[in-house]
Symmetry: C2
Subunit: 256 residues, 2 copies
C-alpha cells in the first residue's frame, strides 16, 4: 500500500522547458488521491529557485519544501562539518551557496558544471583534494538527455575523474544516496516501505530508491531511458511503464 510518492523532474515531468505529455495531469491526479508528493532532482544546472520558476511556468505550483535538491543537502552538510565550499558547479547554482561564512576546513563541491568543466578548474579541485580538502559530489549521474535530444556527460564523469587522480572517494549527496531519499520521505512522514519513486534513470532513481529501502520504483520510458535499462542495474525496477501518466495509473492502483 503506497502512502507517499517521490518524483524525478527532468525526463519525467519535463524535458528542457517543456512539460512531458500527461505530466501535469498525473501530478494533479496523485494529489487528488491524497498521496503526498515530493520532487527529488539531481539537476545541478539550475538553482532551487530556478527549478521552482520553471515548474510554475509549466503550470505546476509547488512549495519550496516539496522540492529536494542536492545543493540544499550540500549546504546542510557543509554547516554540520564546518567546511567552506570550493565550488566546481554551474554558474546558475552559485546562488544556492551564497552567504556561507568562512569555516575551518574546505570541501570541494562538484555538480554538473557544464562548460565550467575546464582543465584549469578541474586541476584546481584536484590540487585542493590532494592538499586535504573534503570531497562532496552533488550527484554522480553518468549522463543526461541534453537539449538536442542526445545524451551528454553528466557530473559523474568528472567526479570519477577527480576520484581516480586524487585517490579520494567523493561523498555523493544527491540520488542514489540513501540520506537524500530519507530526507524527502521524512518531510512527509512516509516510511520507506510505503513509498514509491518514479524516474527515468534506472541507476540513480530506480536502483537507488530500492537500495534505500523504498518498497517500489517505477522506471519510465521517457527522458534518458534507453532500451535495456530495465535490466542494466540491480535491483531492477518494480515495473517499467511508458510515461508518468502510466506511472500514476500504477501508483493509484497500488495505493488502495
Amino acid at each position: 500500500m503506497i502512502r507517499g510518492v517521490l518524483l524525478d523532474l527532468a525526463g519525467v515531468i519535463y524535458q528542457g522547458e517543456t512539460a512531458l505529455p500527461g505530466a501535469l495531469e498525473s501530478v494533479h491526479r496523485l494529489r487528488e488521491e491524497g498521496l503526498p508528493l515530493r520532487f527529488v532532482t539531481n539537476t545541478t544546472r539550475m538553482s532551487k529557485s530556478m527549478v521552482l520558476e520553471r515548474l510554475a511556468k509549466l503550470g505546476l505550483d509547488i512549495a519550496g519544501s516539496e522540492l529536494f535538491t542536492p545543493a540544499q543537502a550540500a549546504r546542510d552538510w557543509l554547516a554540520h562539518n564546518d567546511c567552506s565550499p570550493l565550488l566546481l558547479v554551474h554558474p546558475n547554482l552559485v546562488q544556492d551557496f551564497e552567504d556561507i561564512p568562512k569555516r575551518a576546513q574546505r570541501a570541494v563541491v562538484i555538480g554538473d558544471a557544464g562548460d565550467g568543466f575546464s582543465y584549469a578548474h578541474l586541476n584546481r579541485a584536484f590540487r585542493a583534494l590532494i592538499g586535504g580538502a573534503q570531497f562532496i559530489a552533488l550527484a554522480k549521474n553518468r549522463d543526461f538527455k541534453d537539449e538536442d535530444g542526445q545524451l551528454s556527460l553528466d557530473a559523474g564523469a568528472f567526479v570519477e575523474a577527480l576520484e581516480f587522480s586524487s585517490r579520494h572517494e567523493a561523498l555523493v549527496l544527491g540520488k542514489p544516496a540513501r540520506a537524500f531519499f530519507e530526507a524527502a520521505l521524512a518531510s512527509m512522514d512516509c516510511p520507506p516501505d510505503r513509498a514509491v519513486m518514479v524516474g527515468d534513470d534506472a541507476e540513480a532513481d530506480v536502483a537507488g530508491a530500492l537500495n534505500a529501502g523504498l518498497s517500489s520504483a517505477v522506471l519510465v520510458r521517457t527522458g534518458k531511458f534507453r532500451p535495456g535499462d530495465e535490466t542494466r542495474f540491480d535491483p531492477h525496477p518494480t515495473v517499467t511503464v511508458e510515461n508518468v501518466s502510466a506511472a500514476a495509473d500504477w501508483i493509484v492502483a497500488h495505493s488502495s
Copy 2:
C-alpha cells in the same frame, strides 16, 4: 644479470626543459658499460620529434628508434584495426597522427590534452563512444609533476571519466601496457627477464614493468615521486634510490 635498460624521461632524465642532476652522465655510463637503452615515455604533450629535440638540446642525442611513445603505438594499432582516429590530444601531438587515410571505423584516441580537455571536446568523444567508436588511451597516468612543481591532472582522469559515462573500457597503449614494454625490449633483442625499468611513477613505470615480466624496476625519488610511493602499488619496486645516478650505480652492479 641485466642486459637491457628502459628509462622513463620526465622526472627521471629531465624536469620541464632542464636535465635532472646526473642524468646525462648516467646515460653515458650505461652506454659505456655496453648496455642497450631505450627511452619509454607516456608524455603525450609533445610529438616524438619534439621529445627528440628536447633531448638533443639537453645534450642527449638519441635515434628515433630508441624512443618509444604511445602515439607511435596508437598509429600502429589504428592501422592494424582499420580505424581513423577521433583525436582528444594536445595540439602538439596532432602531427604524430597526420596522413592517416580514411578508414572503415573510428576510434577515440585520448592523450593528455591539457587545456584541450573542455566539456565540449569530452562530450564529443563520449557521444562517439556510445555511438560505437573504439576507445584508445595513450596513457592512463593519474598525475604528473607540472612546470610549477606541483602535481597536475594527467590523461588518466579523463580516460576514467569517459569510461565511467560510456561504460566502455579504454585500451591503454602506453605504460603500464605489457605490449608497450615488450615492443621496446624486442627492438633491442632483450628478454624481459634480463631487463630493468627506471621510473618515477610507482604505478605505470614500476608496477607496470614488473607485471610485464621485467626482472627488476628501480623507483627514483625525483619527478613526481612522493614519500609512500615505495609501497603504494603492487608489485613494489625492486629498489628505491635517490635519482638516476644512483639507479645507474645499481644497474651496473647488477649487470656483471
